[in-house]
């Protein structure tokens, strides 16, 4: 699994070099908005060939690519000719392409929807394209009908509308051996808090929502989160909430395999509300920012004394 994630990261990095508008959909799927990259990478065929070549060279893998005038049709096209496929739908060709597919390929309509469609006599995308909107509305409601009609004609039904750049950030680590040692779990959470705060600052974001993830020895996982009124400003604040979440949700007996922490609902840092009273963490926050600034300039490594392997006497 770890290897899989590593390869995924590598491929996503390669994809990110082709366009800044890259959105990872899952571990092995991503959407690339190639608008405006024609002069750089050429026509869709050329661009796709380049992407395939780079991935084959660097990761030794084949990929399937679908291209089209909108995200939905591109996604459907990518699944058309697996593996190592390349399917390009030219503008205007969406409806015909969809028509040529079996109803199972209608992305976003699962088994239940297909059954409901069959109930009203629709067994193919072609039939769906010709079905009366009123009939669909009666069975699936207004929103459902709209989705089916739009998707069947290969237009984007807005399945990706809610996208934002990055809504959360997380770190997690698997222990070498499952553990019940509170000290070492807490010390990891402290490290995570330092890492997360540093990332938050470097991306100029802020968050009021912190979560932890616990995976037990039997691979079952829980995630728990807390929300505060103002953004986290120091890693100490994040750590104390993370530690609280851990204590509230773990009995200290069940062995833990993996621990993680995350910031959610990320927002740009600029628009933050200022406070009347000092939180008491201002000095720590200043020190941490200074350390980070030094590190970024490559001027030495400053770290918490607790992280030193060989502690001075």
């Amino acid at each position: 699994m770890k290897r899989y994630a590593e390869i995924s990261k590598l491929i996503m990095e390669i994809l990110g070099e082709f366009t800044p508008e890259m959105r990872q959909l899952s571990i092995d799927e991503a959407l690339l908005d190639m608008t405006g990259t024609q002069r750089l990478w050429g026509c869709p065929e050329d661009a796709a060939a380049r992407i395939k070549k780079r991935i084959a060279e660097q990761a030794g893998l084949t990929v399937s690519i679908g291209a089209g005038p909108n995200k939905y049709i591109a996604k459907v096209a990518s699944g058309y000719n697996k593996p190592d496929g390349l399917t390009i739908i030219v503008p205007g060709g969406e409806k015909n392409f969809m028509r040529s597919l079996s109803i199972e390929k209608l992305w976003g309509a699962g088994e239940k929807t297909r059954k409901a469609l069959a109930d009203i006599g629709i067994g193919s995308i072609a039939q769906l394209q010709e079905a009366s909107p009123a009939k669909l509305k009666a069975r699936f409601g207004q929103a459902g009908a709209k989705f089916l009609i739009t998707a069947a004609t290969g237009q984007d039904p807005g399945v990706f509308l809610d996208e934002t750049v990055s809504r959360s950030m997380s770190v997690e680590r698997t222990f070498q051996f499952d553990t019940c040692d509170m000290e070492s779990i807490l010390s990891l959470l402290r490290q995570f808090s330092d890492e997360l705060i540093a990332r938050l600052w470097s991306e100029n974001l802020c968050s009021c929502c912190l979560g932890i993830k616990i995976r037990y020895d039997d691979f079952s996982s829980i995630t728990r989160q807390c929300v505060r009124e103002s953004g986290y400003e120091a890693s100490e604040e994040a750590y104390s909430d993370a530690a609280k979440l851990l204590r509230q949700n773990w009995d200290g007996k069940r062995p833990i395999r993996l621990i993680g922490a995350s910031f959610m609902n990320l927002q740009p840092a600029g628009s933050t509300q200022t406070n009347l009273f000092e939180s008491g963490h201002e000095r720590e926050s200043c020190a941490q920012r200074a350390v980070l600034a030094l590190q970024q300039k490559g001027k030495g490594r400053i770290t918490r004394a607790r992280y030193l392997k060989n502690k001075p006497e």
């Binding site: 009124e229 927002q267 600029g270 628009s271 933050t272 509300q273 200022t274 406070n275 009347l276 009273f277």
Partner: protein, 368 residues
């Protein structure tokens, strides 16, 4: 136990009791209202452990006794009945309700009155009185600024203290804005230690207290007591250290502007439609004689509205959470309001014009 009374007056008190009761669990005695009939009065008690409520109403046809019944259902029955008398009788673990106006009979399971928690009491001599209207005015100015963040429990209530000169002070804050009122018309007050009063009891007082008459208040180590009309209401106090509010009240604001309250509220209402929902950040740009309220420009659109204001300083812009302006504006009781400020990164002060015994402080948001 048995009594007969007017349904409307019983309903009024039982629905008051229902507001206090937090539990909806029919099996818990904490969901019940305590009823005790003595001579010609019915004593009614309710509590959520923190807030206690007690009152009494005249009843007739009494067989003395006490019981507790599920308040939610009792309220339901009473509010669905037409006007008229109702007879209530305890019969083997049940309360039987017989309205005079209908051929109906309702049975409600009862739990023994003996198991009902005791309400805390204050000694008679510890009560002092102040005009109900004055207390209510103070609650109205402060109640909305309280923090709802439970991790900062010491800000979950309104701070009340007696100033060295003997006036009554109330302060509330959520850490970003603060409300302050110092009442000199409270009359002569006994000395008491500063307290933090939870919002629940103040909300109830604010709703039920009329502007006429006096309000009795008593403060003990752990509780505060209020007494008005036939009501006795108590609440536990919030233990903890209220922040040093005096330190954050700006002493000398450099400049100020005034505007019509109505103009500002109306403009805010419209501009806020476009304000970014998460942060509520709204921009206030001042130039001589004019205030422009605007939202951020987003993909959806933007809003901008100019209103007249009395301002003679340099052009300046600050950003504020519009709710922190809208809420105090609703309670400022003057036609014109004044906003005092020093610089965009410092707290602003909102006051009625002419100035009164209260003000509101709001911390700005970062501009970029």
């Amino acid at each position: 136990m048995k009594f007969t009374c007017d349904k409307t007056s019983l309903l009024r008190e039982i629905s008051f009791a229902q507001e206090i009761i937090a539990s909806k669990n029919a099996l818990s005695i904490m969901s019940n209202v305590y009823l005790e009939a003595t001579d010609s009065r019915l004593l009614i008690r309710a509590t959520d452990v923190k807030v206690g409520f007690e009152t009494s109403i005249p009843v007739s046809d009494v067989v003395p006794g006490a019981m507790t019944v599920f308040c939610d259902k009792l309220t339901g029955i009473l509010s669905s009945l037409p006007e008229g008398d109702i007879g209530i009788e305890q019969d083997q673990g049940r309360a039987v309700l017989r309205p005079a106006s209908k051929k109906a009979r309702f049975q409600l399971k009862t739990l023994s009155g003996e198991k009902y928690p005791e309400l805390p009491r204050a000694e008679e001599q510890s009560y002092f009185e102040m005009p109900a209207k004055e207390f209510r005015r103070m609650v109205v100015q402060t109640l909305f600024s309280v923090s709802t963040d439970e991790t900062r429990y010491f800000m979950n209530g309104v701070f009340m203290e007696k100033s060295p000169e003997g006036s009554l002070i109330m302060v509330s804050t959520d850490g970003r804005r603060l409300a302050f009122i110092k009442n000199e018309s409270a009359g002569s007050l006994p000395d008491f230690k500063p307290v933090i009063i939870p919002t629940k009891v103040l909300g109830i007082i604010n709703k039920r207290l009329s502007d006429e008459g006096m309000l009795g208040i008593a403060i003990t180590e752990k509780n505060i007591f209020f007494r008005f009309n036939a009501y006795q209401i108590s609440s536990v106090l919030i233990e903890g250290q209220f922040p040093n509010y005096q330190k954050v009240i700006p002493q000398n604001q450099k400049t100020k502007f005034s505007a019509k309250k109505e103009d500002m509220m109306e403009a805010l209402k419209r501009v806020s439609i476009f304000v970014e929902q998460k942060s509520n950040r709204t921009f206030f740009s001042l130039s001589v004689g004019s205030l422009i309220l605007s939202s951020e420009e987003t993909e959806i659109g933007a809003a901008r509205e100019e209103i007249a204001c009395d301002y003679e300083g340099e052009d300046t812009t600050f950003a504020l959470n519009y709710r922190y302006i809208e809420e105090p504006l609703r309670v400022l009781d003057s036609e014109t309001i004044t906003v005092e400020f020093s610089e965009p990164s410092r707290a602003i002060t909102l006051r009625p014009e002419p100035a009164s015994d209260y003000f509101h402080i709001v911390m700005p948001m970062q501009i970029d």
